[in-house]
């Protein structure tokens, strides 16, 4: 890195204010263009034929009748997508998931695609494609798939991470283990032990915008892709690799994105749209229906988790143990591994062990969903912790404070923590008026903690200063929820100019170097770091130009509040030069002024939150109403506090939906029964109360302003916070998420 990223700035003029976002007016007037809001001349409509079966061999696909239908310009099967993955198993899985090759592996798996002159012709053509299937036994439940006699989904999967290597294939693709100390010896010393098995159902990110793209492949080998994605550089890489293109010849432009939450980190339709365009010789627009989004994008894992925690009479947790089984769809994954890493990350533990198993099932390939894998592990652990606190006879907040990780604690997943926020969030919760508010009949209060790693990654920005002194900032991390506002604030802060003088745009893949995608809560963290670095590089040039204008040595020029200032006895009386004045003269002092930065944004500070939830259960119907909700989370430094609050509130709302109602429901036939927003019901406005937020700022020492990622941690505590509240209200420990009315009634009757 070409600049010092350590925490260096403690007072701010722009950062920490709450201006209106730069993309706001377009979004309230309908002008903003999302994935489906773009068209090209001569564009065709693409559609995908999907398997109705959970598990079957594709015996034959006859596309001849579809190809002959007037208006059909291209028909595609896996035969049109040869395997160019060169033994890269993960890419082969992506290829097979985009278009089934030998077997269909879940209800919704793509088997063929068409491009036609309009939607009705395309739909008609799909009906003319004949697919002959040979049905195979299927398994959609994580525990059933884990059993030794389960139907085998992929006979090349031998569990990795076990020694010796198993002698036969299974549905378990990997075993992972983390921890330290002697768990068995620790558990033997425990005065109180809680041991439970928990289960969570599969949920979907539920972004309101379905996947959409427009692909245009030219006969000269160049191509353009317009797409809603969290990572257009990653999409470019994947599409180019799958289609045998040079990455530089494929320009990917990220549209405005109508929600992603991890679900738009993976290609599904995009390679198909490109292949259709290449075959038809015309642009192809491909937009998923909501049914397709549910059946054939990437929901999160269903899980089954065993937890055992032991404590001494003084409230010290002496041993903690968990075994986590996560479904990963029909391909190998690493989701339980992440669950196993996060499960006990909030606590200072002498003896801890977590074991994760990745379990293949005949469901869509699991994708990331906001702090992927952490909410389920936190549900299990934080439920057991609550129960253990009761056994010990301690208040659940005090019990957690006693065992909370601190600076210097060796985390259960390996590293030693720097300054962290778990203790402060717990103290804030202990003192929050919410904890003292009275509760009525059938009401309960719960609290829970959550952890997320956060991520930095490869980042690149260009900061260009116009001749009029205004600033264009080009970044490569897709703005999923307001980061253009944050990054404009950061550029303004560093240059010492007004927020209104900066315009931040998301550059396409041909206009900027590679950027990792907006995941791991890295958008504002990493791009602000690169923006600060780019601005400091620009300031270096601004100082040089001022020195030239004054004809003094550059060492005698400093940059203060948007101005070059001459110092020293000989020229201290020179009037300062504004950025605008220096920019206006740039044509005669050496040309355009810009700052660039290419970094790996290391040092994403880990993030902790503690939530409080009050609920009321209707004992007649089993329905649960959330009465009050409070989020306390460490932001490091909140760049735009309103959007930080928005992240806290949005994650909490998603977690509440997961806790109470959302789940994928599969029939015995292996088909998804609720692939729509009517039956997969996410929280609506009348389901929720106001969500109170408290932002703590414990600076991340690895970022110049102390910033930590804030996007994901807020979804980690709610499952447990709501479950603890419900358990307290009904007097029965809730073990299965979502706590839908039938499950609550069953628990009450048990």
């Amino acid at each position: 890195m070409n600049f010092d990223p350590s925490h260096s700035k403690r007072s701010f003029s722009s950062v920490g204010t709450r201006p209106i976002r730069p993309d706001g007016v377009d979004k309230v007037t309908g002008r903003a263009r999302y994935g489906a809001d773009f068209n090209m001349p001569g564009q065709l409509v693409g559609r995908i034929l999907r398997s109705p079966h959970a598990h079957a061999i594709i015996r034959k696909i006859d596309t001849s009748r579809a190809a002959q239908l007037p208006g059909v310009k291209a028909v595609l099967t896996a035969a049109d997508l040869p395997d160019l993955t060169n033994g890269d198993a993960a890419m082969y899985d992506i290829l097979d998931n985009c278009m089934a090759r030998k077997k269909v592996l879940y209800d919704g798996h793509a088997v063929a695609a068409v491009a036609a002159i309009d939607a009705r012709t395309a739909k008609q053509a799909l009906k003319l494609i004949e697919v002959e299937y040979e049905l195979l036994p299927h398994v959609t439940d994580v525990d059933q798939a884990f059993a030794p006699d389960a139907p085998l989904i992929n006979d090349t999967i031998f569990t990795t991470g076990v020694d010796p290597k198993p002698d036969r294939p299974s549905n378990v693709s990997m075993r992972s283990q983390f921890g330290h100390g002697d768990v068995d010896a620790g558990m033997a010393r425990a005065d109180f032990v809680v041991e439970r098995t928990f289960k969570t159902e599969q949920t979907h990110q539920g972004y309101i915008e379905p996947h959409a793209c427009v692909a245009s492949v030219s006969s000269d080998g160049t191509a353009d892709l317009w797409v809603c994605t969290q990572g257009h550089f990653v999409y470019r890489q994947h599409c180019a690799q799958l289609l045998g293109m040079d990455a530089s010849k494929l320009r990917v432009t990220s549209s405005e994105i109508g929600g992603g939450f991890g679900g738009k980190t993976h290609v599904w339709a995009e390679p198909v749209a490109l292949a259709l365009s290449r075959k038809a010789g015309r642009p192809v627009k491909l937009v998923m229906t909501r049914d397709e989004v549910f059946r054939a994008s990437g929901p999160t894992s269903a899980t089954s988790i065993d937890v055992k925690i032991g404590a001494l009479t003084d409230g010290t947790i002496i041993a903690a143990d968990a075994t986590l089984r996560y479904s990963c769809g029909p391909y190998a994954g690493a989701w339980a591994e992440v669950g196993a890493m996060t499960a006990f990350a909030c606590y200072k533990l002498e003896n801890v062990r977590t074991v994760g198993y990745e379990v293949l099932v005949n469901r869509p390939k699991t994708a990331a969903y906001r702090a992927p894998s952490a909410p389920m592990a936190a549900f299990a652990v934080e439920s057991a912790i609550d129960e253990l606190a009761k056994k010990v006879g301690m208040d659940p907040v005090d019990f957690r404070i006693r065992n909370a990780a601190q600076e210097g604690t060796k985390a259960s997943y390996g590293p030693v923590y720097g300054p962290i926020g778990i203790g402060p969030t717990l103290e804030a919760v202990k003192n929050h008026p919410h904890m003292k508010a009275p509760l009525g009949k059938n009401q309960g209060r719960g609290m829970a903690c959550g952890f997320w790693f956060n991520f930095g990654g490869q980042t690149c920005t260009d900061l260009n200063i116009g001749m009029d002194g205004t600033v264009s900032l080009a970044v490569g991390t897709v703005d999923v929820g307001g980061s253009r506002a944050s990054l404009s604030l950061v550029a303004a802060e560093e240059l010492g100019i007004d927020y209104s003088q900066v315009r931040t745009v998301i550059a396409d893949t041909s206009s900027l170097g590679y950027n990792d995608m907006t995941d791991g809560s890295r958008g504002t963290f990493s791009s602000s770091m690169a923006t600060i670095s780019a601005a400091r590089n620009a300031i270096k040039i601004l100082r040089e130009r001022a020195a030239q204008m004054w004809d003094i040595p550059v060492e005698d020029v400093t940059w203060e509040n948007g101005h070059a200032v001459a110092k020293g006895e000989t020229h201290g009386n020179l009037p300062k030069l504004s950025l605008k004045e220096i920019a206006a003269a740039s044509g005669t002092t050496g040309g355009p002024i810009a700052g660039h930065s290419e970094i790996v944004a290391d040092g994403a500070g880990v993030s902790f939150a503690t939530h409080i939830c009050d609920i009321e259960v209707d004992p007649e119907t089993g329905a649960t109403k959330v009465l009050r909700y409070t989020v306390v989370q460490d932001a490091g430094k909140a760049v735009h506090p309103t959007y930080v609050e928005g992240q806290y509130q949005g994650g909490a709302a998603q977690g509440i939906g997961w806790a109470l109602n959302e789940e994928y429901i599969y029939g015995k036939d292996g088909r998804l029964q609720n692939a729509g927003f009517l039956d997969y019901r996410i929280p609506v406005c009348s389901d929720l109360p106001m969500i109170d937020t408290q932002i703590l700022e414990i600076p991340n020492p690895n970022h110049p302003y102390g910033v930590r990622g804030v996007g994901e941690t807020s979804i980690v505590p709610p499952l447990a916070a709501v479950a603890n509240a419900v358990s307290n209200a009904v007097g029965v420990r809730m073990l299965h998420i979502p706590m839908s009315p039938p499950r609550i009634l069953a628990a009450l009757e048990a």
Binding site: V28, G30, E209, M690, I691
Partner: protein, 159 residues
């Protein structure tokens, strides 16, 4: 190919004529034939409200209305809310309160809120929550949306 149905309608105060198929939704007509891309499709089944429009003073999901049904009717979409560069108070308050993150649901919420405030200029929090329950937002948790609507209602009442 069947002949199109000729439809005369009024959109955001301007007369509009179009041809559509008998089975074509008003949503598809607005987006694909008339270029009103502010009307969003989130589900196509009337469950998310992203395609909300006001049809003769009634809030509807345009994905559940046929294009041919627009004959002789008045349609209001998000594109008609601002007057020139003067934003509607709801649009202004959505910006000030950061009542949007990704923004895909925003046009539908603005139209639904406009309809709500036309019928109930001084709604309680609960009335706002139930009035907007037909619109899904996955980003905000609704908190800032409710506050923006409360604030805009005050401005519109002259309070």
């Amino acid at each position: 190919m069947m002949a199109g149905i000729a439809v005369s309608t009024n959109i955001n105060g301007d007369n509009a004529e179009f041809l559509c198929h008998a089975d074509e939704t008003l949503l598809d007509v607005l987006r694909d034939r008339l270029g009103l891309m502010g009307v969003k499709e989130g589900c196509g089944t009337g469950d998310c409200g992203a395609c909300s429009i006001i049809l003769d003073d009634r809030l509807v999901c345009s994905c559940l209305v046929l294009g041919a049904e627009a004959e002789g009717r008045r349609i209001e979409t998000v594109e008609g809310m601002a007057q020139g560069d003067q934003l509607h108070p709801l649009q202004q308050k959505f910006l000030e309160h950061a009542a949007l993150q990704c923004g895909i649901c925003t046009p539908g919420f603005l139209i639904a809120a406009k309809d709500l405030l036309a019928k109930n200029p001084d709604p309680t929090e609960e009335e706002i929550r139930f009035g907007l329950a037909g619109n899904l937002c996955r980003c905000t948790g609704y908190d800032k949306i409710v506050r923006a609507v409360q604030d805009a209602a005050g401005v519109m009442r002259g309070a």
